[in-house]
Amino acid sequence: MVIGILEVRDLSYSAGGKEILSHVSFSVKRGGFLTVIGPNGAGKSTLLKCAGGLLPYNGEVRIDGRSVRDMNERERAKRVAWLHQNGAGRMPFTVRRFAAMSRYPWRPVLAGESEADRKIVAGALARAGVEELAERSLLTLSGGERQRALLAAALAQGTDILFLDEPTSFLDYRQQVEMMALIERINAEGMMVLMVTHDINHALHASGEILAIKEGKAVWHGETDELLSTSALSEIFETEFKFFSVGGQRRPYAAPAGFVS
């Protein structure tokens, strides 16, 4: 498997006469895990879309040194797989079929599903733990099952970079825990992960680096551990946080102070 590297330099994006992102730069190393946090409307989803080449950005985004702008959709899809924020459209397909559809960028235009495709899809279903849902229609799944199925489809895409936009929204606690564990495992297997989340603890828990944006600007960037040693979090979200350190554990748990009184 090729190991990729994502470099974002001076990324800006405007829409509707408004600058939504301005001059954001960061890079993620092979197999790295960067989480983007920030308040509502900060531009997190927009950042992800620009970095993935889904929106026409200004600035530079490179994967393995090659500009995303110069890659066509298929080429991009071979490097970057997505779990979108609102993956809630009507998708009248079974889980297996939907995952198989992700093989599209690898297939010659006229070809159908190959034996190799089928193996990869089966592997992806197994990794995401949705083998027993394979023949269920996406329309009948619960929120958590659905999110896992969508992740399986992203894995089937066979990329080395994974973009996740709020992968735990709509999930209950157990499913949140399971989903994050799954993402960590995938990351540990060598997949580079760029995740957007509004739950700071998911970021603290799993990711190596954190990028905070606010009103389209990068306001903090660094190792996850560093974030805890500053008052950055409170500034980013404009609300006080309390940290609970648990003996013998790597990182503390963050909670908005408003709920701890």
Partner: protein, 323 residues
């Protein structure tokens, strides 16, 4: 599901094989090799007509399927969005102005004009979608299509009204649509359209599957959404233009056949392309047999039969269907 396709394939095949022999005057298989009246009916009238019918039905159904996916609206069809009316406009204008062109002797000027009209309609829709800064939403584009449909329809009527005695007869006959034909020329002329749209449907099927799940999802899976939309927009209008040019606007097939097929097969757009072609073709041929047999020797416009039978069948599916 594949079983259903095989079954459909067989039924479609049987209808094509049987259709040429059925009519007010029944033919027998021996007429295939025979000489004389019956053989001439078979070779000069029935076979060309069945061929044209199958090709047109398949073409319209697949075009409807693609448009419904493209606009993510069950009511979107080339008929609804002004393409057919545009084609009719081209034809009516051609008749009215008395222009005369003919290319390669095979394709008649009127067909070219109809095609031009369809193209005009789709370009107008395209322009409406692009003139406005930021583009139109899909639902606005749909409404624009419906408005264009009305516009072309009314202009056609105005042209007809301003026509003289015989003109009107010709235009009315043209705007009703029909498959009466002598010889294989129209069938041959419409074949490329079917081949193009089948190829396009087959090629872009996986892309359409992704597309109906959401534009961004499709894009992130490697689909060039803008290019796909342009490609489909243009090929569908091109092909519908050809079909309408040759048989007039045959209502209903493009709108309802895809829904019926979705009830039959579900699944992805590659399969659906095949299913729509098989079903649409067989459906139009069967309706045409009815139209020329039921009240023989009088003949009903085939659009009446397709609307009547098709909507009954569709209502049945809707009320008794699985989902």
């Amino acid at each position: 599901m594949n079983k259903k396709i095989v079954l459909l394939f067989i039924i479609s095949g049987l209808i094509i094989i049987a259709a040429p022999f059925v009519g007010a005057h029944m033919l027998s298989p021996s007429d295939i090799l025979g000489e004389g009246g019956s053989a001439r009916i078979l070779w000069d009238l029935r076979l060309p007509r069945v061929t044209l019918g199958w090709i047109s039905g398949a073409t319209l159904a697949v075009c409807g399927l693609i448009f419904q996916a493209l606009f993510r609206n069950p009511l979107a069809s080339p008929d609804m969005l002004g393409v057919s009316m545009g084609a009719a406009f081209g034809a009516v204008l051609y008749i009215r102005l008395g222009i005369a062109i003919s290319v390669f002797g095979v394709i008649q000027g009127i067909s070219l004009a109809a095609f031009g009209g369809a193209f005009l309609a789709i370009m107008a829709l395209y322009a409406a979608g692009n003139i406005r800064r930021g583009g139109l939403s899909l639902s606005s584009l749909l409404l624009a299509g419906v408005a264009l449909n009305f516009l072309f329809g009314s202009v056609n009527m105005i042209i007809q009204y301003s026509g003289g005695y015989t003109d009107t007869f010709r235009m009315m006959r043209w705007t009703m649509g029909g498959l009466q034909t002598v010889g294989f020329a129209p069938a041959l002329a419409s074949l490329p359209g079917l081949l193009i749209i089948l190829l396009v449907g087959w090629l872009t099927g996986p892309q359409l599957d992704l597309f109906i799940c959401g534009e961004e999802l499709a894009q992130s899976r490697g689909v060039s959404v803008a290019a796909l939309r342009r490609l489909l927009f243009l090929t569908v209008s091109f092909v519908v233009g050809i079909s309408v040019a040759l048989c007039g606007p045959i209502g209903f097939v493009g709108l309802m056949c895809p829904h019926i097929c979705r009830h039959i097969s579900g699944g992805g757009h590659r399969e659906l392309t095949v299913v729509c072609a098989l079903f649409g073709g067989a459906f139009l041929v069967a309706c045409d047999v009815a139209s020329r047999t039921f009240w023989a020797p009088a003949e009903l416009p085939v659009g009446i039969i397709t609307s009547c039978l098709g909507s009954l069948f569709f209502l049945y599916l809707l009320v008794n269907g699985e989902r």
